[in-house]
Amino acid sequence: MPTPAAIPLPLKWAKVIDQTRCIGCHACSTACKSENEVPLSVHRTYVKNVDIGVFPTARRAFQVTRCNQCENPPCVTACPTSAMFQRKDGIVDFDKDWCIGCKACIAACPYDAIFINPEDHTAEKCNMCAHRLEVGLEPACVVVCPTQAILVGDMNDPASKVAGIINREVVAVRRPEKDTRPKLFYKGAHTATLDPLAALRPTGGIFMWGEQVGRLGGKVTSGTSSAAGSGTRTTSSAAAVLSYDIPHNRPWDWRVSAYTWTKSLATGAYLWGGPAVLGIYNHDSAMWRLAVPFVAGFFLAITGLLLIADLKQPTRFYYLFLRPQWKSWLVRGGILISAFAAILALHFAFGLTGNGAAGVALSWLGAPLAFGTAIYTAYLFAQAKARDLWQNPMLPAHFGIQSLLAGAALWTILIPAGDLVGGPDLSVSVLTAMHLLMIGSELSMTHGTAHARAAAREITHGEFRGFFALSLILSGLGILTPIFGAFGALCALLGLLAWEHAHVQAGQSVPLA
């Protein structure tokens, strides 16, 4: 009986980097810059160097570092316009014509493999030189390597070299716990290079032949700080010092911190403000018909502007609606914000005609939309798979509380004191206390991973301890709103902002590569 032929599996591109052959010469780095016209200050690939051990039992470990061509790519899931997409053959590719520069992919990639190209302001990364594969040529780095340490091929083809190495030799991937299923396998890589926190970052801002960040601002350096008293420790029990690396990205800056705050104000102004205003006044009042939708709409507009301003391609913001990638929380959030904005607009328009009851009817839709708008950011942050600090099950609840708190504080300021029977109520105090309770939980609990712990430490002891301390003081004053009135409410609001900034920045402060 003839043996049945094996059913051929579809082509699945994979990469093998053999660090037992790699001599750390950086030919791949310059060949890639040449082939793909990569500007200075950004890199599609580079060679990380870590010095391991104690003299004379020491060596220098190299790691050729770039996109891992994940089978489960978080960058693709996060991209709102499918500018980042996965091909059937497994290559994770990108289309610059559709990139809006939101940097969700950069926030999502657990390997810091993506960067914004300063020439065209769109996202870019190693795409296995797909333009060369198309014409039957190996990628540029594969060809140039003096020791042929980089290989590509079909991992589903048992006869291929890459399949042979992946399936028959000892290989490892970077950060498998991120559930990305990388298709770049390292042979002979040392855990001191694979784990971003394993090596000690040298003091003095230098590496063995270069500067850590030079003139660049807003960068993250790899490794764990070795500054005296930093209280940090590396994840490697073997001595390991980072001897060469490139500056790393921190994609979302103050604009993203600020947008979470203005969004809390917008949604809270409606969620808390709505019932409060209806309680103090009635649905015919100008406060309900006009002030509530206007205040909420005002902050929602600022939120929208901040979001657009954060884009590297702000004029393309509407691509979100032209070609939405539905799994992206940027898209879902965009829909929620737009729908909520529409409700507010209708509420205001009816209100102008003197109709307050319409606004009440609309609120059956408005309230869930506002709530969704308030908390979706938790899911957006969690979709940034790279950031362990944001993989926090309490985050939706926390954003919900922040929203209500912002609304309560805002209306405490806006509602004339005379209208507040018995003075400002305990809402701000209670909500602030709940907010502080959430922070306390977050920071006092043992963290699941070294990355989360490191990020939390940046808030309490590190780069952002200033903002953190400030937020505690301000929130403390906020609890005393019944005594301080509007001033207390303002403190509560600013305390929220200070906290979110620390949270958003610290979450991105942990090195990924």
């Binding site: 051929p8 780095s29 082939e35 004379p56 003096p146 500067e211 960040v213």
Partner: protein
């Protein structure tokens, strides 16, 4: 089964380079490293018109039509093959990849290969001839025409030649990148004017090899070795980095054991199976302990030694008490090396006896498959370092691992220098500025001493060419150079800098003449990368591209280069005609066309002559593709003449040569037959003829006459009668010499500084104009061990004051476990600077002020590397680094090894925390101290006047560039 790929879009004009498609078109498939159906390069049949897709437009399929033209990289001497991808529309080079047809580099490159693109497009490069305006060193230049410049230079050269002042002319080369072209120019002019950088590079190692076998460089067969022993860092630097790194890793993958001796954790040491970090200067002690071990355990190749060593000479001269038998020699050699115990070596080196024993075991079992290499490293650092190379090759000679598979070959047998159209006779003069009496056996010129010799009034230079040679920067004691160049009545008359870029030396030039980079010039070279002979051709790629596209290429290379950038080869021809327009000086004849006599030799004719006449097998290979030999070379850039050269020393001398034979007492065979013509004119040592003038042809071995080696005895000279005769009896056999940084020779609180280690990313100052390379590597902190740093009181990044015997520099500390405690090291390449008044390489130079107070010079950093908005290159605004490193070389006094002439780079230094007021990059030097130090080292020499056994300046048989006639050798 092959991978099924997405179908190629048939709408665009590209064809695939895939294996099956290429095969179906009967074209060459270059198998890519992944072993799949992907090619590493487009098939060569399509190099005239290759379509690729643009990366930046992807996934849109924008086609780029290109013509692929080969050349070779100019960034280091390896001259790895490159293919220039030239856009057919814009006629601009888009990128450089490797050349799969190059037998040495095999299509692969180091980081510096692709980075050549930056150098071509560098907006700071010099595009036009420049002439100094104002004081030398003032930084002001004006543009002049080539005609004006060359007329001026030629007239001065002519005057010097006519006035019989040939020694007033000097050509000082940094990176030759070619085999002999310029030497022949100087020979044609009749001047012994060649000067090089070799004595800051490989002089010592050359001495070590040459005294053994006559040839002065090794060609290790790493890929087939069982044991690879490196006193080098060949996985990141050296001759020939990329080709050798490939083969070392091949060897390792095939099971070879890699042993690396390096005081520092180099990238090479990282891959070593055994890394030992000896005290600098103690390497020879370790090697001799290994030799002693091999001898005691009788693991040496007795048959090989008996046949090919000059043991009989040794017994006759040094052990007349013993019968002249091989057994006596075995006894004698065991006695000679008995004192080199592991205990002794451990004490000298700080490496444990256990480790040394382990290494010795491994080496002793290598059989004939020991591939060992020392190029610079220890030999270039320590006084007596030439013995390091000698002791290393000693191991190969003990095991018989010479010129065999997996062993170490002499370089010249793996090299082919094709006979050129003219071979001018060598000069009849001897230039003592480069070959002084104090150093009769120096390997190459005493280039580092030039400023001191000029200061002492030993001569002057009417015309001084520096060619891709950054004398002020790369040498020790750069302020002495500046001093001689800028003083009133400078002994340097006209300084002509031949360079593509600004450099610290070009500032002090009178003419700066721009010469082409690796894709803008012609050169021919052949390097010993494996047991084969190949030639590589460097060419102006746009010229060849235009030729293939039947476009006009202009009158000369300037027609295809940017601005008025030229190339030396054509320029020398033009200059030589200006020196001797009517031929009456006998110079012009060597630059005349043979095809159309009376006209200038064209560069194409020069190379076509070689390809048509002097490269065996090339015309036939070309004809098989319906190409002329020159067309073939311009198309493929390289040609392998033969491989598997093997043990030429063991070949029988053909009977035709054995005419009128005579022998000496030790079996050296001489013959009256004339030297057979050879198309391979690679320089070799010239063992002396016998008293009757018969030339040395071979050696008697077991009843046959074998070729042997080009040493006086024809054998491997374990015992060097030359060394004995010329004043070094104590070093006549391989011995250990305690260096100038031996603990016994250090002053209190001094430690050795190793300033020679190189980075894989940079190459001296030549790569300073590549932004991609500068982005990766732009500083040279001081490597210092954790414990040592704790003593000094510094952390990484803190400022340290490093004081040499003549000055000090302020540098940052790099605290590391990657260096032996108590030794410090600082990389060779960094520390570029420009004066405020001058132009420079903006992304790799700091701007400094230079002040002088009597004999003290000070360099102070004003500001580091800055970003610039330059419309010609937007990337310059993204320069994110500020550092350029510290120019430590300025603080190093000259330390010429008395025998090899090598500048002993290792410095005895004090390492302290920086003082109050010290700023990063400060450099201070006292020239009085530099002078005193120079005189101390000159006192160590054994000058020819006192030690020459025969009234000549130098042993005649030793190799020497531009070797003058025999008469000139007389004192």
């Amino acid at each position: 089964m092959s991978a099924k790929r997405l179908p190629i879009d048939v709408d665009h004009g590209a064809v695939g380079a895939f294996k099956d498609e290429t095969a179906s078109r009967k074209e060459t498939f270059y198998q890519g490293p992944s072993g799949s159906d992907l090619a590493s390069f487009p098939p060569k049949e399509r190099w005239d018109d290759w379509v690729e897709l643009d990366s930046k437009s992807w996934p849109r399929k924008k086609e780029l039509r290109q013509v692929l033209v080969p050349t070779t990289c100019f960034n280091c001497e390896s001259a790895c093959g490159l293919l220039a991808y030239i856009d057919k529309e814009t006629l601009q080079v888009r990128k450089f990849e490797g050349n799969p047809e190059h037998p040495g580099s095999r299509g692969r490159n180091c980081a510096k290969g692709p980075a050549t693109l930056n150098q071509i497009h560098d907006v700071d490069r010099i595009l036009y001839p420049l002439k100094r305006v104002g004081n030398r060193g003032g930084g002001r230049f004006e543009r002049v025409s080539w005609d004006e410049a060359l007329t001026d230079i030629a007239s001065r050269l002519r005057k010097a030649i006519v006035d019989k002042r040939p020694n007033d002319i000097m050509y000082h080369v940094g990176r030759p990148g070619e085999d002999g072209y310029t030497e022949r120019v100087l020979a044609a002019w009749g001047v012994d004017g060649h000067n090089s950088h070799t004595n800051i590079c490989s002089s010592a190692a050359r001495a070590g090899y040459q005294f053994w076998m006559g040839f002065d460089r090794p060609s290790p067969d790493h890929a087939n070795a069982e044991v690879i022993l490196l006193i080098s860092a060949h996985l990141e630097s050296g001759h020939y980095f990329n080709p050798h790194a490939q083969r070392i890793m091949d060897g390792k993958q095939n099971g070879a054991k890699l042993i690396v001796m390096d005081v520092r954790l180099s990238n090479t040491a990282t891959h070593a199976d055994h890394w030992i970090a000896p005290y600098p200067g103690s390497e020879a002690a370790i090697l001799l302990a290994i030799a002693n071990f091999i001898i005691k355990r009788k693991r040496y190749n007795s048959d090989f030694i008996r046949k090919f060593w000059n043991w009989e000479s040794y017994l006759a001269a040094e052990r007349p008490d013993l019968p002249r038998t091989f057994e006596s020699f075995e006894t004698a050699i065991a006695e000679a090396y008995a004192s080199y115990t592991f205990d002794f070596a451990a004490k000298e080196s700080g490496v444990s006896e256990t480790k040394l024993c382990e290494i010795a075991e491994i080496v002793s079992k290598a059989g004939t498959k020991l591939a060992a290499h020392n190029w610079r490293s220890a030999a270039a650092g320590a006084e007596g370092g030439w013995q390091v190379a000698r002791c290393l090759f000693f191991l190969n000679c003990l095991l018989g691992a010479v010129a065999c598979e997996g062993g170490t070959y002499p370089n010249t047998w793996n090299k082919f220098v094709p006979k050129p159209i003219y071979m001018p006779p060598h000069p009849k003069t001897w230039n003592e500025l480069t070959w002084p009496k104090e150093f009769p056996m120096s390997m190459y010129e005493m280039s580092i001493l030039l400023p001191h010799f000029l200061r002492e009034g030993r001569g002057k230079l009417d015309v001084y060419f520096t060619r891709v040679y950054n004398a002020v920067w790369t040498n020790p004691d750069g302020f002495s150079w500046i001093d001689q160049m800028t003083k009133e009545d400078s002994p340097i008359g006209l300084h002509v800098a031949l360079t593509p870029t600004w450099s610290e030396t070009a500032y002090f030039a009178d003419y700066v003449l721009p010469m082409g980079l690796g894709s803008e010039r012609h050169d021919l070279h052949s390097y010993e990368t494996q047991d084969a002979q190949w030639i590589g051709f460097r060419q102006p790629v746009l010229k060849e591209a235009k030729r293939r596209m039947r476009r006009d290429t202009g009158a000369d290379t300037r027609g295809v280069n940017p601005g008025e950038v030229w190339e030396e080869n054509e320029m020398w021809i033009d200059l030589s005609w200006r020196i001797d327009p009517d031929g009456s000086l006998g110079i012009r004849q060597f630059f005349e066309s043979k095809k159309t006599p009376g006209t200038k030799l064209s560069i194409d004719e020069y190379y076509d002559y070689i390809f048509e006449n002097s490269v065996p097998g090339l015309p036939a290979k070309a004809a098989a593709e319906q190409l002329l030999p020159g067309e073939f070379m311009r198309r493929y850039g390289a040609y392998e003449i033969r491989s598997g050269i093997g043990q030429l020393f063991a070949e029988d001398v053909p009977a035709a040569e054995l005419v009128d034979v005579a022998r000496d007492a030790f079996g050296r065979v001489y013959a009256g037959s004339p030297k057979p013509d050879s198309l391979n004119v690679a320089p070799q040592p010239v063992p002396d003829a016998d008293a009757a003038g018969r030339r040395a042809v071979g050696i008697d071995v077991d009843g046959r006459v074998l070729r042997g080696f080009p040493t006086p005895s024809g054998k491997l000279e374990f015992y060097s009668p030359t060394l004995k005769a010329w004043g070094y009896p104590e070093a006549a056999i391989p011995v250990y010499i305690k260096s100038h940084v031996h603990p016994e020779n250090l002053l209190p609180n001094e430690v050795p500084l190793i300033p020679t280690f190189r980075l894989p990313i940079q190459i001296h100052t030549r790569s300073g104009n590549s932004k991609w390379l500068s982005e990766i590597a732009h500083s040279n902190p001081l490597w210092i061990h954790t414990s040592h740093a704790a003593e000094v009181g510094v952390l990484t990044g803190d400022l340290v004051r490093v004081s040499t015997r003549i000055g000090y520099f302020i540098v940052k500390a790099w605290v590391t476990e990657g260096i032996k405690p108590g030794i410090v090291a600082c990389s060779h390449h960094m520390g570029r600077w420009k004066l405020e008044s001058g132009e420079g390489q903006r992304q790799s130079m700091a701007t400094v002020s230079m002040e002088r107070n009597k004999s003290a010079y000070m360099l102070r950093r004003l500001f580091g590397v800055e970003a610039h908005d330059d419309a010609r290159d937007k990337d310059l605004s993204r320069v994110w680094w500020t550092d350029a490193g510290v120019h430590q070389n300025l603080t190093f006094p000259v330390q010429p090894d008395p025998l090899s002439g090598m500048h002993c780079w290792h410095q005895a230094v004090r390492v302290e925390k920086a003082y109050e007021g010290d700023r990063y990059g400060d450099i201070v030097v006292d020239l009085e101290k530099s002078k005193a130090h120079y005189e101390t080292w000159m006192a160590k020499t054994r000058p020819a006047g006192k030690f020459s056994p025969d009234g000549t300046r130098r042993p005649h048989w030793l190799q020497r560039p531009l070797r003058p006639s025999k008469d000139a050798y007389k004192l």
